[in-house]
């Protein structure tokens, strides 16, 4: 049975009709720092070394599933381990800057160094030059996806788009969901992309349709923004746009499948097992852009929100730009923020260093000023049951959290701790302000390390 929404969750309060927020491009940064892992899974292998000259768009790291490009022309100023990926893994990051910043630089990098303002113009004026650049004409779409290093950032984790496509192709799918929902943000950039650049989005959607051959294609948007995006050429035969209730966490795979397809699946399964492939609207847009322009896409879209800002913003920044530069562009002094969250307010991870670069995975930044951060002092649970009522996975969050706190991990596993999607609803409503998500994460990691031997268990934890 399909229903228009799911049980539990949090209503995202907003007017019933809102407009999209335009995407403002940031000026090109002077220097970028590019980690060699910008997705879940295996990190890419680095192809360059310190002192090398690189050209914008050149592949500097690659794996079997994705590629990472130099997003500026210049010299590799530094290759340094110590970038902390969201998964906790520490990987290498490459710093690229103008040649004159380094002492002994070859001249090659210089001619590429010009002062263009618009990234798109820059990209167009600098056609690929080197042998390992993407040669779009010769490659089929799959190859393009690999060489363009596309990442799908729908749901909770960013995976290489190619991995998703391979999996979907293997399983065979009946429905392709293009997920245009941003976490807890009705005016995120994905809605803007659909409203402002429908051509690219549809090119991408058609390409995915061609590869995956699904029976139906569904583009999901929040219903509040629906009227702002319905101007695009509706082609009932190929896809339909489905407006969904503004309810957190509607954007995750589990609840998209539930609401759009009307089915549920346990944590050891994935949407592909039900014949559903979910790809973010952003990935569809970038794929369309790449196919149209025959170049890798070097920017990342970011929705910035939070009490520090007067109104939510959408920006487009070169991959590798530092958070500090983004704050600068937004006109926010570093002293005016006390918490900078990489991700949305409900599930994002705060960063501790403003020099950290944004990556393909950066979809949202949430900013809080001094006095606006929330403590979770963790008082005694009063068994109010609020967490039970809001849990979209119909779990008993206070028990999972309590078992984890008490070290009774097996009991937590018995109560399906691995079904928890860490959406944050339980902690948000907890009147005792127990950091339940933190306890549940702790319980999960304890269980995983305890039982990491068991293959079966690893499979069960795949999504957790």
């Amino acid at each position: 049975m399909r229903s228009s929404t799911f049980s539990g969750g949090l209503i995202i309060h907003a007017p019933s009709k809102i407009d999209t927020v335009q995407i403002d491009p940031l000026p090109e940064p002077k220097q970028v720092t590019i980690p060699i892992k910008q997705h879940q899974g295996t990190a890419c292998t680095l192809l360059i070394k310190k002192g090398d000259a690189v050209v914008q768009g050149e592949i500097i790291a690659e794996s079997a599933s994705t590629s990472i490009h130099a997003t500026l022309s210049g010299t590799v100023l530094d290759v340094k381990a110590g970038f902390e990926h969201i998964s906790g893994e520490t990987v290498t990051a490459v710093t690229i800057g103008p040649a004159e910043l380094a002492e002994e630089k070859s001249k090659k990098g210089k001619k590429a160094k010009k002062g263009e303002k618009q990234e798109e113009e820059t990209a167009k004026e600098q056609p690929p030059r080197e042998p390992n650049l993407v040669r779009m004409d010769e490659l089929r779409t799959i190859g393009k996806i690999l060489k363009a290093g596309l990442i799908d950032s729908s749901s909770r984790f960013a995976h290489p788009l190619l991995d998703k496509i391979r999996k979907a192709q293997k399983q065979g799918i009946r429905a392709l969901i293009i997920n245009g929902l941003d976490e807890f943000n009705l005016q995120g950039y994905q809605a803007s992309l659909l409203a402002d650049a429908p051509d690219e989005v549809l090119t991408g959607v058609h390409a995915l349709q061609h590869i995956l051959n699904p029976d139906e294609v569904v583009i999901t948007v929040y219903e509040n923004i629906f009227q702002a995006v319905t101007s695009l050429p509706q082609d009932e035969d190929t896809f339909r746009i489905v407006p969904l209730k503004a309810r957190h966490p509607q954007h995750v795979d589990e609840l998209l499948v539930k609401v759009v397809i009307g089915q549920e699946y346990p944590p050891e399964m994935s949407p592909e097992d039900l014949g559903v492939c979910i790809i973010s609207l952003e990935a569809a847009y970038i794929l369309g852009w790449v196919l149209k322009n025959n170049q890798p896409f070097l920017d990342t879209f970011i929705s910035v929100s939070g009490p520090v800002l007067d109104k939510p913003r959408n920006i487009r920044a070169r991959i590798g730009t530092s958070f500090r530069e983004i704050l600068e562009y937004l006109g926010i002094a570093p002293e005016a923020v006390s918490k900078v969250v990489h991700g949305g307010p409900m599930t994002g991870k705060p960063i501790y260093d403003l020099e950290r670069p944004v990556t393909k995975e950066t979809g949202q930044i949430y900013l809080q000023g001094p006095g606006e951060t929330i403590d979770y002092p963790s008082k005694v649970c009063v068994k109010c049951g609020f967490c039970v009522q809001v849990c979209p996975m119909r779990l008993m969050p206070f028990m999972l959290s309590g078992f984890s706190e008490a070290g009774s991990f097996e009991l937590a596993a018995k109560y399906d701790i691995f079904s928890c999607i860490e959406c944050g609803c339980c902690a948000f409503v907890c009147p005792s302000q127990i950091p339940m998500v933190q306890w549940i994460q702790f319980g999960k990691s304890a269980l995983m390390s305890e039982r990491s031997e068991s293959d079966e268990f690893i499979q069960a934890c795949r999504l957790a």
Partner: protein
């Protein structure tokens, strides 16, 4: 790199702002009409009970938490709310020392021995009430009689003199507007309904418990009344009299001792409602409502087994 220090903490980074102390504040506000009307009907004696109860309860709590070297939790206002509810179900004539005993039992036996408010298996107010009811039955039934009402509380009249006499003695408007003998928190059904509506509007309590409780009382007592109106009191009398409303909105809804699952709340409410009617109709005690909630507290851990089926399972 001389960046200002950034806060790092686990998600989520926002909170609803609904804290235990705010829920308790809602309870306090919801109790104001009943408490104020009780003072109006019974005079300063009722106010005296409330003041002694609240002050002593908070003092006991602070004292015990200090003695056991645990963090002070008086600021969550739960002791204030419990004490006020307790004061409302004690007779206005109760001696001061008995109030101190009652609040001591409520705080120590009712919650602190279990680790504080939140871990208590029973409603602490009812623990104290049951002990007093058992140990000091005379003090617990010495009423102040307002106006031309019988000298017994409505449920006592029903128990001792039968339904037809109870029906004659108390009109609905008397029950609604507090022209009966009894404890402060049962005199005016109207004031309790106002307070209850406020709690529901503020979503401080889940609607399932009070609604199902009242439905349980009404339907079960109504079932017998339909078949034998002469030997049973009518369902409206059961709802308006005998502390049914304070039990429904303020006692059964005690967060720690009531179920957490939506389904469990329905069973809890219905069960307490049916038990209330059963105890009143066939039991030895006139105040079935409080015993019913107390007994249903026992079933709470079992009722919490009605957890919803996990997504995808």
């Amino acid at each position: 790199m001389n960046s200002s220090k950034l806060v790092v903490s686990p998600s989520p980074h926002i909170h609803s702002g609904n804290l235990v102390s705010k829920i308790m504040l809602d309870f306090l506000v919801a109790l104001i009409p009943t408490a104020a009307f009780g003072v109006y009907i019974f005079g300063l004696g009722a106010l005296r009970v409330m003041l002694i109860a609240v002050i002593s309860a908070v003092a006991w709590e602070a004292l015990i938490q200090k003695a056991t070297k645990r963090p002070l939790t008086t600021s969550d206002l739960s002791a204030v709310v419990s004490a006020l509810i307790l004061a409302l179900i004690l007779p206005p004539t109760i001696p001061w020392w008995l109030i101190l005993v009652a609040t001591l039992i409520m705080i120590v036996l009712g919650r602190e021995v279990y680790g504080g408010y939140g871990n208590n298996p029973f409603n602490p107010v009812l623990v104290a009430w049951v002990v007093l009811q058992m140990s000091f039955p005379d003090f617990m039934t010495s009423w102040i009689v307002p106006g031309a009402s019988p000298e017994l509380a409505p449920m006592e009249v029903l128990k001792q003199q039968g339904p037809s006499f109870a029906k004659e003695s108390f009109t609905y408007s008397q029950l609604l507007l507090g022209q009966t003998a009894g404890f402060t928190g049962q005199v005016s059904a109207l004031m309790l309904l106002i307070g209850g509506a406020f709690l529901l509007w503020r979503k401080a309590v889940n609607w399932r418990i009070p609604v199902c409780y009242l439905a349980g009382v009404f339907l079960f007592s109504g079932l017998f009344w339909i078949f034998s109106p002469s030997s049973f009191a009518d369902p409206v009398f059961h709802v308006l009299a005998g502390g049914t409303l304070i039990a429904a909105f303020f006692l059964a809804t005690d967060l720690p001792s009531s179920p957490v699952t939506p389904e469990g709340m329905v069973y809890f409410g219905l069960g307490a409602g049916v038990l209330t009617a059963i105890i009143r109709m066939w039991g030895a005690w006139p105040f079935g409502a409080f015993y019913a909630v107390f007994i249903m507290n026992l079933a709470t851990p079992f009722l919490d087994k009605t957890a919803p089926e996990v997504y995808g399972r």
